[in-house]
């Protein structure tokens, strides 16, 4: 059994090496992501940035450990166990499966998840305001409230907001539910139109003509893949079309507010700092990521019969379609 002995020897060496670098007074933050991915990497960098801004210097008063599961959930589970055993001050899992694996592995180490769309549905926390236990975090659910506010700013006359989505996509269904809540608060009524396949997107959009004052397209795979046909309807009927994602603005929607994932990371880092300073995770409410990227398309807006107010163009991160 030489192999086993080899493994054991190497394991002992690894323990010796890792424990030698740890010293008192240092806070340890362990970060893990399911896979390397620009948005997830930016989130991680944002977390570290926020920690630096709060006076925790990596290599001095802060030790950051980072592990990527390289797309493999079994490895994610193993990383979760490793972190549970290493007992860092805070564990930051990025993405839903990583967060679930970490939460399943520890009941006492503070966990601050991030880039999770639906933390209650993923059973990470029982409630957003008062998560309880050892878990809190940041959700990257689309900033629907900010979208509604943006639509009202660009189309002040809006009373009826049309929403175009595939009722078979769970993400869209939960988004539309959130949209209805926000619209109600703003005094708008939501008019729904559904498409089960991309080819149905155009007729569905046309069905909204006369019934809605603006169209909102959530991040719905079916409708977004047929976005051009929806934009065409908007131009013909002078009906402004808005999207939940900023990428669609270049394809012809009027405007959108999206995430800068580095900012999502910074927001997460701020929660981590609160816990490092002594707050209990269960008392820190789960927050929704704030959208900071504003994309506008004045040319498309003109084609759909609206003018983007100067104030909006002024603060836009990017003006497309020139």
């Amino acid at each position: 059994m030489t192999i086993t002995r080899l493994f054991l020897a190497a394991a002992t060496a690894a323990v010796a090496l890792t424990s030698a670098t740890a010293f008192a007074q240092t806070k340890t933050v362990a970060i893990t992501a399911i896979v390397e991915h620009p948005a997830l990497d930016a989130t991680r960098d944002g977390v570290i940035e926020a920690l630096k801004a709060a006076g925790y210097t990596p290599g001095d008063t802060l030790k950051v450990e980072y592990q990527s599961a390289q797309g493999n959930p079994a490895t994610a589970a193993q990383i979760a166990r490793q972190f549970a055993g290493a007992r860092p001050d805070v564990i930051v899992p990025i993405s839903t499966p990583s967060a679930q694996a970490v939460v399943a592995s520890t009941r006492d180490i503070p966990v601050v998840f991030t880039a999770v769309t639906d933390p209650v549905g993923a059973q990470l926390v029982r409630s957003l305001d008062k998560p309880g236990a050892n878990v809190t975090g940041v959700s990257d659910m689309a900033p629907v409230a900010e979208h509604v506010a943006l639509i009202r700013e660009i189309v002040p006359s809006v009373k009826r907001l049309g929403v175009l989505y595939n009722a078979g996509e769970p993400n869209s269904v939960s988004l539309v539910k959130a949209l209805k809540d926000e619209a109600q608060k703003a005094g708008l009524t939501v008019v729904e139109a559904t498409a089960t396949k991309s080819a149905d997107a155009q007729p569905a959009a046309r069905s909204l003509v006369g019934k809605a004052d603006a169209i909102y397209v959530p991040l719905d795979n079916t409708v977004v893949s047929a976005l051009e046909s929806v934009v065409a309807v908007g131009q013909q009927a002078k009906l402004p079309v808005f999207s939940a994602d900023t990428d669609s603005v270049a394809r012809g929607t009027v405007a959108s507010i999206g995430f800068d994932y580095r900012q999502v990371g910074r927001q997460t880092g701020e929660a981590v700092v609160r816990i490092l300073k002594g707050e209990k995770p269960g008392d820190v409410p789960v927050t929704f990521a704030k959208g900071t990227d504003l994309f506008v398309n004045p040319k498309s807006a003109a084609a759909m019969g609206v003018t983007i107010p100067e104030a909006v163009t002024q603060r836009a991160t990017k003006v497309v379609g020139q």
Binding site: P73, A77, Q82, T96, P97, G121
Partner: protein, 299 residues
Amino acid sequence: MSEIAFFGAVEIGLVYALVALGVYLSFRVLDFPDLTVDGSFPLGAAVCATLLVAGVNPWIASLVAALAGSMAGLVTATLNVRFKILHLLASILTMIALFSVNLRVMGRPNVALLMQDTVLTPFYGLGLPDHVVRPLVVLVVVVVIVLLLSRFLNSEFGLAMRATGVNARMARAQGVQTDFHIYAGMALSNGLCALAGALFAQTNGFADVTTGIGTIVVGLAAVIVGETVLPARAMLWALVGCVVGSILYRLAVQLALSADAIGLQASDLNLVTAVLVAVALILPRMRLKAASKKREAAR
């Protein structure tokens, strides 16, 4: 390696030991390279998670999950045996189809089980820490399955199945219904993989459509490492070898995770794991060579 990390590696190794046993059945016993595994593992997780959320007893949910996996194995076997599609291609077809099936079963890409009762729930709070309870429960399941499987493969039916894999024409000449044995073997193999998926979902608190990626690679690595470390002729020991191989593979991943201490990055994980497994495979061979050289020198 902390105690929790060690037990975690053993636990995940034991869960994947069921995959290794399944792969041993298809790949070694039946000589049928089967990629269905990448789909039947998450199928087991999906079925089990969906039933648990619906309030079904966890053991029954796990059993139904295993049956669902068996059905997947039967589909691959039918494509191959009945419609003469090359085994590799037949299994790829089933695997990609299962991705959609799994999405349908769950109704969304991820089902959470963090707040559901699982097969482990009754064993928590019996005095042992969670990270010891989990591998213990899985160990009991694995031991029972290894014993049953060894008995099965040494029975007349099992011997006929082994004959089918070694030499189908000869087996047929001896009156073995080879087609039937391929169906049975593939069903059993994928049933085990689906059971592994069900246990994985329960020990980690979620079922996710992406859980299947690379399952076959892990299973094969476990079988081969096991054969290298524990070369055995007796069926029981060959099966134990699969289990040992699977645990060693996970310990290798665990080592790779600690590799940042020697200047490697998190993104090097897959490479480090591959190198460690390769070393595990090469070392015994070099030892053999050295031994035979010594013998020659002594002569």
